[in-house]
Symmetry: C2
């Protein structure tokens, strides 16, 4: 018989195997507890420890203990053996590395900051189908950011008004029309009507502008209903679906990913509710980790913020976007989306900070233009193209009336 004790879960000389998952946590030990004791408890509770000492026959126990191998100030790195995880199940992984440990009395606060995903875990997940390739495979936006918009007000518009706003935006130079996350299948704008009428409009505008356009229709719902909506999008000739990944959850995202592959649909991930657990810097789960999870589960685009140039608080957008673009055991990259309070006047700094492999989404920053949606879309497109070409917004505005009006209205500051 063998005992399992807390100090089995810490070894500051340990070097993780390359097939282990390494998680980096920020933590504040409870009063009277050392950093070592707290880190050991984190490793224990998130793998196979418990608060009580136990006696177990070693022949009947697979070694699954995590090891805290690095502690620096309030940060700890913990390595998890691959056998702890069910292959390809994101809910199971989260139940270990972001589960009960977040509520332990042994720590006052705890935040999962970053993960280093080994091939042993990555190979269980599909990753994205398209990622940045949507710009050329499904749209005509090669060499510049993809532009997207959500009709405003975000809910309440009739289907006809919604579609008309979309037409104006597409015609003005936007590539993607996107549903708001609050818009799914309500009486004022039913899913089926909106889908078919928006796609018909998409085809008309693609014909008149000579540019392929896309519609990010929000299929978020209970899983069975969501899969039916995905099927309807494919039948109706859509190329994209939008899924609100946190509010529906990762089990459903994984299910939708499989169905979308059957149809060749790209997945646009909205992230409503992420700020419930990633906003505060000392507790919860970071947006960086959420973005990693989303890539593993196979979304093609995900919102990662505006690097401070919008109305929402963001953590390190450039760092997250760099991770989404970097190699990770051959997984396809994810195309990040900048959104939330953007307008043409901040586009130059946005692209300077985040590069051009990006979706730039503006809602109020298009439809709030004094001359309406079409002018607002033209202003955004002009701002983006000028920035890509290295021309200043002021210079471009000299011979672009909609951009001049936008800069006059909004200036170059982020809204609050």
């Amino acid at each position: 018989m063998t005992g399992i004790e807390y100090d089995d879960f810490i070894d500051l000389g340990y070097e993780p195997d390359e097939d282990e998952l390494v998680c980096r946590f920020r933590f504040e030990p409870a009063e009277g507890m050392s950093a070592e004791a707290a880190a050991s408890r984190i490793a224990s509770e998130s793998s196979n420890g418990t608060w009580a000492a136990l006696q177990v026959d070693p022949d009947e126990l697979t070694h699954l203990g995590a090891v805290a191998f690095e502690i620096e100030g309030s940060e700890a790195a913990i390595a998890y053996p691959p056998a702890l995880f069910e292959s390809g199940s994101m809910p199971q992984i989260l139940s270990c590395i972001a589960g009960n440990i977040l509520g332990m009395k042994a720590v006052d606060t705890l935040r999962l900051e970053d993960c280093e995903w080994p091939a042993s875990i990555v190979e269980g997940f599909p990753g994205p189908q398209y990622g940045p390739a949507v710009a050329t495979e499904k749209l005509d936006a090669g060499g510049r950011p993809v532009l997207a918009t959500v009709p405003k007000p975000k809910v309440g518009l009739s289907t006809a008004a919604h579609v008309r706003v979309g037409e104006d935006a597409w015609r003005g130079g936007v590539d993607l029309l996107k549903d708001d996350e609050n818009l799914t299948d309500q009486e004022f704008n039913p899913f089926e009507d909106r889908l078919t009428e928006s796609l018909a409009a998409r085809d008309r505008i693609a014909e008149s502008t000579g540019e392929r356009k896309g519609y990010l229709v929000n299929v978020t719902a209970e899983t069975t209903a969501m899969l039916e909506r995905v099927d309807r999008v494919a039948e109706a000739g859509g190329e994209f679906v939008m899924v609100d990944v946190i509010t529906c959850g990762w089990a459903a995202v994984q299910t939708v990913r499989r169905r979308c592959e059957r149809h060749g649909l790209a997945i646009h991930a909205h992230r409503a509710m992420h700020a419930a657990f990633d906003r505060l810097p000392h507790h919860g789960v970071s947006m960086r980790v959420l973005a990693q999870i989303a890539r593993l589960c196979g979304v093609d685009h995900i919102h990662t913020g505006t690097a401070g140039l919008g109305k929402l608080e963001n953590e390190d957008t450039p760092g997250i976007n760099a991770w989404l673009a970097a190699d990770c055991h051959g997984m396809t990259p994810v195309l990040p989306v900048a959104s939330g309070g953007l307008h043409p006047g901040v586009v130059d700094r946005l692209l300077e900070t985040l590069g051009t492999e990006l979706i730039v989404q503006a809602g109020g920053g298009i439809h709030g233009h004094p001359d309406g949606t079409h002018a607002g879309a033209r202003a955004l497109r002009a701002a983006v193209e000028a920035s890509v070409d290295g021309v200043s917004l002021e210079r471009r505005a000299e011979d672009h009336e909609p951009l001049a009006v936008a800069l006059e209205k909004w200036g170059s500051e982020a809204p609050r």
Copy 2:
């Protein structure tokens, strides 16, 4: 044409209609912003506002604006019109009331504290099938708390060892054997083997003890795999499934609820990851609201904490449990589960605080007993029955050796 402005979203004289959803938030306005302006922004962003002023034809707009109708210090109450919500879609509701608002720069922190659910929303959801009735319909635990345990170490045990621990616990007086949330379908203890062998053991012990026993098998996975596991549980003669509701997400929970109804299976909800957004008192979404959501979506049991008598931090367990038991437009109640660091020595105070309509779950507090699992289970059962009968633990221990040993080992304090 009509403008939508921020002050359309606040009316301190407003009385909500009875079909409106009322949400109560705690918030800290951003520097330089009044409580009224911040509350108005919360109502705006969570319904149909945006940061930019817009002009809209009123004939094409359904009124969906939320109204901040009460502000007291750092708390605001906001009423949402029912037409904003898709009937029966929890992801859609969350995208409104717990979505982008949590990340707005207009507030430094924001927490969804409580909801008052109108019949107009409740009727779209199934609610629980059984709730507290599992104690008599599926078990023989009428008149006392249901007892549950998770084998420890929670992961790593072989199937044979897992089942043997379960047998010892059932035989000692525990009603429910529960999988750990980290245990799903891994090589060291595959789902199918564990399911069939545990249910065979359940039948043997039920026969020998004359008490019905249950197995809470963890079916959590990607949705399609999860439904297959639910079907297998029913085929194999199970009566319960366990679902990790936060890590898999509400879309999947709603889907599983439908499938379980077909089979008559009760749903045991684990809540790993809840502390990522409910632990800090000033930000995120409260456990109270999560419990409400779980009831609407139709789980039968949910973990709500130990009222401070365990190893995990909890918010107001008695208040949450009271809500789960109270009438809500005729919805079946949910049976709450107290778990996390419990042992026999705290049972008297636990039941005094939370009552007897409860599942008392102990892991280390059973298997860590010096004389092993069977003695640990007997000690817990004795402690619970004594408390129900108004007999003190010390008194009962006088003629109950396992309980005496447990009290000697653990005393009457919560572990940390």
